[in-house]
Symmetry: D2
Subunit: 373 residues, 4 copies
Amino acid sequence: MNKVRIGMIGSGYIGRCHAIAYAQAPTVFALKGEIVREMLAEVNPELAAKQAATFGFARSTGDWRELVRDPGIDVVDICAPNFLHKEMALEAIRHGKHVYSEKPLSLSVADAEEMVQAAREAGVKTLVGFNYMKNPTSQLAREIIARGEIGEVVHFYGTHNEDYLAKPETPLDWHCQKALAGLGALGDLAAHIVNMAHYLVGDIAEVSGDMMTVIKQRPDPKDATRLLPVENEDQASALLRFKNGAHGVFETSRIACGSKMGLTYVVTGTKGTLRYTQERMAELELYLHDDPAGRQGFKTILTGPAHPDYANFCVSAGHGIGFNDQKTVEIRDLINGIAAGDRMWPDFAEGLQVQKVLEAVAVSAVERRWMTV
Amino acid sequence: MNKVRIGMIGSGYIGRCHAIAYAQAPTVFALKGEIVREMLAEVNPELAAKQAATFGFARSTGDWRELVRDPGIDVVDICAPNFLHKEMALEAIRHGKHVYSEKPLSLSVADAEEMVQAAREAGVKTLVGFNYMKNPTSQLAREIIARGEIGEVVHFYGTHNEDYLAKPETPLDWHCQKALAGLGALGDLAAHIVNMAHYLVGDIAEVSGDMMTVIKQRPDPKDATRLLPVENEDQASALLRFKNGAHGVFETSRIACGSKMGLTYVVTGTKGTLRYTQERMAELELYLHDDPAGRQGFKTILTGPAHPDYANFCVSAGHGIGFNDQKTVEIRDLINGIAAGDRMWPDFAEGLQVQKVLEAVAVSAVERRWMTV
Amino acid sequence: MNKVRIGMIGSGYIGRCHAIAYAQAPTVFALKGEIVREMLAEVNPELAAKQAATFGFARSTGDWRELVRDPGIDVVDICAPNFLHKEMALEAIRHGKHVYSEKPLSLSVADAEEMVQAAREAGVKTLVGFNYMKNPTSQLAREIIARGEIGEVVHFYGTHNEDYLAKPETPLDWHCQKALAGLGALGDLAAHIVNMAHYLVGDIAEVSGDMMTVIKQRPDPKDATRLLPVENEDQASALLRFKNGAHGVFETSRIACGSKMGLTYVVTGTKGTLRYTQERMAELELYLHDDPAGRQGFKTILTGPAHPDYANFCVSAGHGIGFNDQKTVEIRDLINGIAAGDRMWPDFAEGLQVQKVLEAVAVSAVERRWMTV
Amino acid sequence: MNKVRIGMIGSGYIGRCHAIAYAQAPTVFALKGEIVREMLAEVNPELAAKQAATFGFARSTGDWRELVRDPGIDVVDICAPNFLHKEMALEAIRHGKHVYSEKPLSLSVADAEEMVQAAREAGVKTLVGFNYMKNPTSQLAREIIARGEIGEVVHFYGTHNEDYLAKPETPLDWHCQKALAGLGALGDLAAHIVNMAHYLVGDIAEVSGDMMTVIKQRPDPKDATRLLPVENEDQASALLRFKNGAHGVFETSRIACGSKMGLTYVVTGTKGTLRYTQERMAELELYLHDDPAGRQGFKTILTGPAHPDYANFCVSAGHGIGFNDQKTVEIRDLINGIAAGDRMWPDFAEGLQVQKVLEAVAVSAVERRWMTV
């Protein structure tokens, strides 16, 4: 079986998730390639060595550039801060590596376009870490829609709300700085719900957006008596028109008190409706309007072995999927994509498409007019 | 005790609710006036007589004009189709009657303005039947907001979705005709959620709307082989800016499969969040961000005697409020308003304000630009 | 139309509910008899007069014996404390009155038997106020079971839990005294769930029970420094065997923190399951095991006009039923039973049957052995 | 770091879960010992070799006896059918191995006692796979109880219901045969809820049980036209008295239509209540009776990094725990127990205690009397 040698850059929050998924994937799935946790890069050699040991990587480096040019690496897995995605991806592509990047793909449409272009020219494969769409429950949602069980989709409402910056006394961090994060809640969170909208309904054609920086200043992390400006939006909303004619709305917030993992969607069709919230990630609610009178209602389907990919984790229904399990499905797609040429999606082109929507919303909000994506 | 003599026009769906509430109210509340079910008007004298007997009215008439000029009537209660609200209200006002009208107040802003003006000049009192805000649970929501328990409101998301026209084979009825209904889902349903937004958050200053007629033709009710055009929107959405600076979104649909009474709201503040759905009208979900770490979460409060107006229906918590109980609270406000001068709200001025928002959304949707309300 | 002249004894908590239902019923239902709120008895003439005025009764008395012998009364409606039910009912029957009594029918099986016997001999009609089974949602549950939609019932789990005595500092009241209340949570609360079990599944044949007085002493209401003994159980549980072979369990508690109206049931059949909680009294959850693989789940049915009696309250589904609406259905049964001979159930015989189950549980708990009902 | 060399017997349903957990654990936790997946035994050498490759074990064998005596094995992990647990464990102990066995520990109390005795005498460590109590959410429940947040526990209601044998046409399998399974739903499912009751409330002292074989015959798996007897119970219930004085009930069923992972509990204390269902394994509902009037209610806590062990899987709250994550916590306990002497629980002594409760329920059901455990 072909080896797929991974070079992972970054080992923080999301890097840790990747590491868990790499460890778990070969036992969960009958992969078409062998995962080799080859090298891990961190900001300095000591941390890199420590994390490599923890996460089971064979080698480590304090210099990501060394990793991307290493001949023993097939895939560069970018778990570094958002502002570095572009530079790292381009450099990896330059060395002919496949690239697996966390979302958002880049800080701007222009950057994303450059990345898509580079990957295309180099003929390397790409994958972006929109892991929520890999959840068997959301795969089921797509299957139900694709089979026409809810008729033609006429409306989409989606959110990705969290509350990690709800307290005004939380010090400023990179999320709030344009140079490091680009957009605020739109880039960090809404990227997921836009990708989900694409996955479930199709491409978005036009948007009318609004956004707001609620907490305009935050304490300097180095000196709490000093306030620094928050440079991007805490919350945003947008009216959507999909290419297929459906209408919709998405909302996002990083100050939505109480939303811990508030990716939610309601997809309304001409014959039925789906409802979902990521905080109950093993449940999909399905309503069918043709059910007999007096027996209509939303049915709560617990994800189980009758649904995509679930049986690999557990053969009994309702036993539960976890956050890292989604990433494990994503890793399966990565490995099978690289080792066996299976379709890898969402790729950089989708990452760019998401970026276009987000940027259109941001521009629309400033210019206060509808924008074509 | 002062008598408040009611003349009710119309005895269909909502007339029946009024009748139940009139019957119930004096037992539920210690009213400041005595309700006298004096006269009922229907489209013909036979039906009027039959319905008067059923609903406990002393007299009846087949001519609403007779009712509005009857000296034995203090309040004209308009439960007639929307397109008649204006004419009936103006005529009632001309005869010096107080007017209690069902929503929407009128088919247009211009009409509503005329009605507000007439009532003001005549010095009569007015009330509009936005009954959902009378629910003790929503009164509790307002109380929590007013006390600052969730901090300053920064976001509102509201819906009023139903599915009564979800089937394309449902014949065309008055809801779908501009001359009879004015707006579609906006007028019939969103009026409630706009009023609720006003009640909970404050006035709306600007909107950017979108709308869609999904089912463009429906069978002629008299000849199912013939299709007639649907003249107004099946669904609509709007971005909102409130006068106090909060942002928001509302959505409405009459084809939202599975939504039977889909008035819902999420009000996000700087310190907490409220969530509500009318389908669980005795529950309010409250999240407070300052709860201790590890003990945060949405708390489901069951409405009970500690909350406004509930104890009048039942002295034990969680025993349940019904649809008609809201109308009974509204009747209490009507009677106490007229008999004792208590504040009656939402009045025609609020009905007009709601109409302005709805019309702004509709115009915005057509002109594809932000509108000031 | 025949008049049905009501004499109501007691106007506290539940008397108030009756009064609201009497007021509402003629507007809600096309009754077969005319309700006449004829006379109200209370513990003294002043209170009686005041409450009669409030609740719309024509006459009043401070002596219930006067009421039960009054020739202008057809039905004696007993809303007095439990320990008085027997004496009042027997006296009413002696004067040839129909009797509508609140639950529990009596403090003991022996008393209930005497009451059933007396009513039978006098040929009067009886009704016991087990109002929860009148809820359209529970009527729907019965309909689903009766139609065999969930197959043969094999298991019943039911509770009636509340928390009105959860605080040890709550002073002793009549609920805690054998002479006034008889049983504790069993008599006050479990009576409802036993009736519901009878209604949904059938008669209970054998029980094995357990019970516990958790808070053994409570403050004297007249002198908080003194503690008085609690004489009956705070919580109880029982294994059940139904006559039809199904097994089951019921539980009850008056100290179940957080249960405000904790009447709940799960009825499991060979082909499906029903779940219900009174705190969401307009929702029934239905699971059908023959649903296709991958589309199984509990469906939340919102009660609506397709279900029994709902349309009388509102013609749109999901708009909500309240606590008093159940009592209104019960009043409909009372009036139609007396005026037109319609079936009135649950009658005293059912009240006795419930009492037999409760007493068997209590004896079983003391003697620690299975009891035949 | 000490190596802990695992010999796993069996690689079916639960063996697969163990394998996933072994793979994941070193990345998730900073273990105190190194997991070595040394040897896997299956019923024949070919299957053993295949599964060893799939699950990452170095060696394999078709003879479990070879595995238990292999000097390269430190821990024997028994994922074989229940009827083999005893023989395998005793043989492993005889060779001085630590034993990690799936539940139920054995088919009878006598067997379990022999196993406990043998392990004690040999001085080996033991662990039983009651994985549900390892869920961070149930660990949180225990923490809340232990801290006295809900006061003194006065009541426990628990279930473990599933529906894997709900269809009468499902052929007979080992679950239904006494020689292979011992008890039915009690042994297969209730073992978990009894362990959970022990974990959350304490030891059970007395029981009164009932049980029922609903589907008395099932098709022969080899010849569907022939029916074979079901030898053990499909459903069972028991009244419980805990040593600390609390009362309770547990129920179990393998034919409970709609319950896919129906381990649930409600723990009622003198000051509050906890509610939990495994189908929403990342949510705990907490009610505190001392909350202010009008602000009482069940709070839904989403498990997060403030709770035990969660942060190892993900550093953001509400992102979700999966079924296999519980097993991963269990593996952590196993490794740290063996490598570093940390407490390993539930051990064989607890497995025996669970067995004693289950057997007491079964005997009680037959003899129809209370049993002391």
